[in-house]
């Protein structure tokens, strides 16, 4: 009796953005690249989700969010032993060199300028697969 090959689980991405429109767009972009996607609307909810399910292959977060910025979320992830290996990608509509440098120095995997393009997601996908 032959064993049925089980298709590999698609990578799971946690997308964090306070904008409902941006969550819809980034979610669709990621799903069209065959990711499994969970969306949340704040850094606080992202951390709550991660405390329940750390089986996340990538976090993609908006930079500018009320209460907890994407940068703050990045720092919290990198400070947490169980989460620090998860790559974190920052998205921002502001193309600020200082902001980009700050995030990359804090350990961000990449920094994308909004609106995010399908080519940006493809590039992330290739890097995730290579890991």
């Amino acid at each position: 009796m032959s064993t049925m090959a089980v298709p590999p689980e698609p990578p799971h991405v946690l997308a964090v953005d306070d904008s409902i429109v941006d969550r819809a767009v980034i979610s669709r972009l990621l799903r069209s690249s065959k990711y499994r996607v969970t969306t949340v609307d704040s850094g606080k909810r992202a951390l709550e989700f991660l405390s329940l399910d750390s089986n996340v292959h990538m976090i993609i977060t908006d930079y500018c969010m009320p209460e907890m910025s994407g940068y703050d979320l990045l720092k919290r992830v990198k400070e947490t032993a169980e989460l620090r290996e998860i790559p974190v990608v920052i998205m921002s509509s502001e193309n600020s060199t200082a902001r980009i440098r700050m995030c990359l120095e804090e350990g961000a995997e990449d920094f994308l300028i909004k609106p995010v393009r399908p080519s940006d997601v493809s590039r992330l996908c290739s890097r995730l697969i290579a890991r």
Partner: protein, 151 residues
Amino acid sequence: MDYSNLRRQAASMKKSLFDQGYLDEQFCQVEDLQDEASPNFAEEVITLFFKDSARLISNIEQALEKYPKDFNKWDAYMQQLKGSCSSIGASRMKSECMSFREFCGQGNVEGCMKSFQKVKREHGVLRQKLEAYFQLLRQAGPAGAATRPGM
């Protein structure tokens, strides 16, 4: 019903929206995300946009009244709206949002007020035009969204 004619009308309407600067390439990117699994994705996102942007505009309106000369607060709210505009390719609205933010940076109350009225106007006009566009697409049938305007 002449579906091909309706599709041509929809394509022409879209081209016109681009030519007049209401929309930019990002709108095409949003439409390109449609597939068999999500055939109405663009209309769904645009509907979300107008719901959310109405809320953001209301927030800004209240902030202009309740927090006089609080340019940081006004700017923060408008940044949210500008971001949404950018995400769906609402080019003229985005430009007006940017004008408002510039006036905030200058501490120019009158400029902010006038600019905000323009933001609201552009919002209303865009809503009408996109509602008409998607209505035409619905009438044209499933192949209606496939065209990219010649730019």
